[in-house]
Amino acid sequence: MSCQEFWKRLSKPPGEESNLDPEHRAHLAGCPACSAHMARQRELAAGLKLVAEHFSELRAPARVEGRLVRAFRAQNSIAAPMGRGRSMVAAGWAAAAVLLLAVAMLLSGSRQPAPLRAAGPAVAELATDQEMAAADADGFIPLPNAERLEPNDDVNMVRMEVPRSTIEELGITVSADRGTDRVEADVLLGSDGLARAVRFLD
């Protein structure tokens, strides 16, 4: 067996010599270069194993599990009996909320929920007067079939981009030729992870 063959046929990380087959052992015994290289490889493998052991108990913080459970419940609780059209709207918002909870985290690099911003003058540019009347002081429009948020409720806000056609499902007028455009929106999630209200940004 040549040195090249020796290393090519050694498929696993070098462990104890007793784990090698007789051919490999015979080569090692007669080749000081491979023997020295093997010793270094073993030292490296042992070191990597120790590093792995020291990291082995490392886990994601518990808050990640909490967020995922809320997202899971949000997704599954939407299947409550509603009219078909409304349930699809709600399901769409919930799915978007699930997606955005993660996207928002990734983009912001922050573990804290983003603070609520003061309502800007350009909020909900597409909303009619009637829809704006339903919006709260921060410009959030309650979602259909969603529970009302009380002033002391614990909320998270995520920012997302939605197609303008999604806005239409909330009863807001959208011009047909811009239905595929995307618009930024802030979605308020209740402590159960369900989407409760939305406001559109320009």
């Binding site: 070191g47 020291h54 490392l58 913080p61 899971f72 990734l106």
Partner: protein, 203 residues
């Protein structure tokens, strides 16, 4: 019903599809540690590791999650998603920083067991040097070392995660180990361990 250790990932996935929260938690608790550590080693950032771990498991909730048992294990699939997300973060410049050992939220484990302080110091220094060497490997080599050597993922699963043939996993691993040895040798030459001589005691 809380899943047991014998429930396969595939069985749990079916239960997740029917809204079984315990099954979702079962998969999460079984797989999250490895995913979190993989991202931590790859990114050097606990914040990124946390965010990507969350995103990986959120992907399981999506109806179009795309996992195909015929193409490999769920674990390989999850590592694959995590890897793609890490690469995306790299493009945005959020990662490839040194491990945040000073940060409060990283909580990296101590690398020494103190019984023989002098021996442990050398031991700890060596492990630190090795950990540093791993984090400074080029990404394609680092990912294969983290998967195969640190997380003990088998080559087939690593091939799924890295989206490459098994032969490529092997050759990259071979090259990665050679690079690690080179780095460690360079470090040793630069900082040779001083030989300790017995102290003369004068009374």
């Amino acid at each position: 019903m809380m899943p047991g250790p014998l429930d396969s990932d595939e069985e749990l996935l079916l239960r997740i599809r029917s809204g079984d929260e315990e099954a979702f938690l079962g998969v999460y608790r079984r797989r999250q540690g490895a995913i979190y550590r993989f991202v931590l080693h790859m990114s050097g950032s606990a914040t990124v590791a946390e965010d990507i771990t969350q995103e990986v498991f959120l992907a399981l909730l999506r109806s179009e999650c795309g996992y195909d048992p015929d193409r490999g294990t769920l674990s390989g699939y999850l590592f694959g998603i995590a890897r793609k997300l890490v690469l995306r973060q790299v493009e945005r410049g959020r990662v490839d920083v040194p491990l945040e050992t000073d940060s409060e939220d990283v909580a990296l484990p101590e690398l020494a067991v103190i019984h023989d302080p002098l021996g442990d110091l050398t031991h700890r220094e060596r492990l630190e040097a090795l950990r540093r060497a791993v984090t400074t490997l080029p990404r394609r080599y680092r990912e294969v070392v983290v998967l195969c050597d640190l997380e003990e993922v088998d080559y087939a699963e690593a091939a799924v995660a890295l989206n490459c043939p098994i032969g490529t996993v092997r050759s990259r691993l071979h090259r990665a180990r050679a690079l690690l040895l080179e780095k460690l040798n360079r470090e040793r030459s630069a900082n040779p361990v001083k030989e300790l001589k017995p102290a003369r005691i004068l009374i």
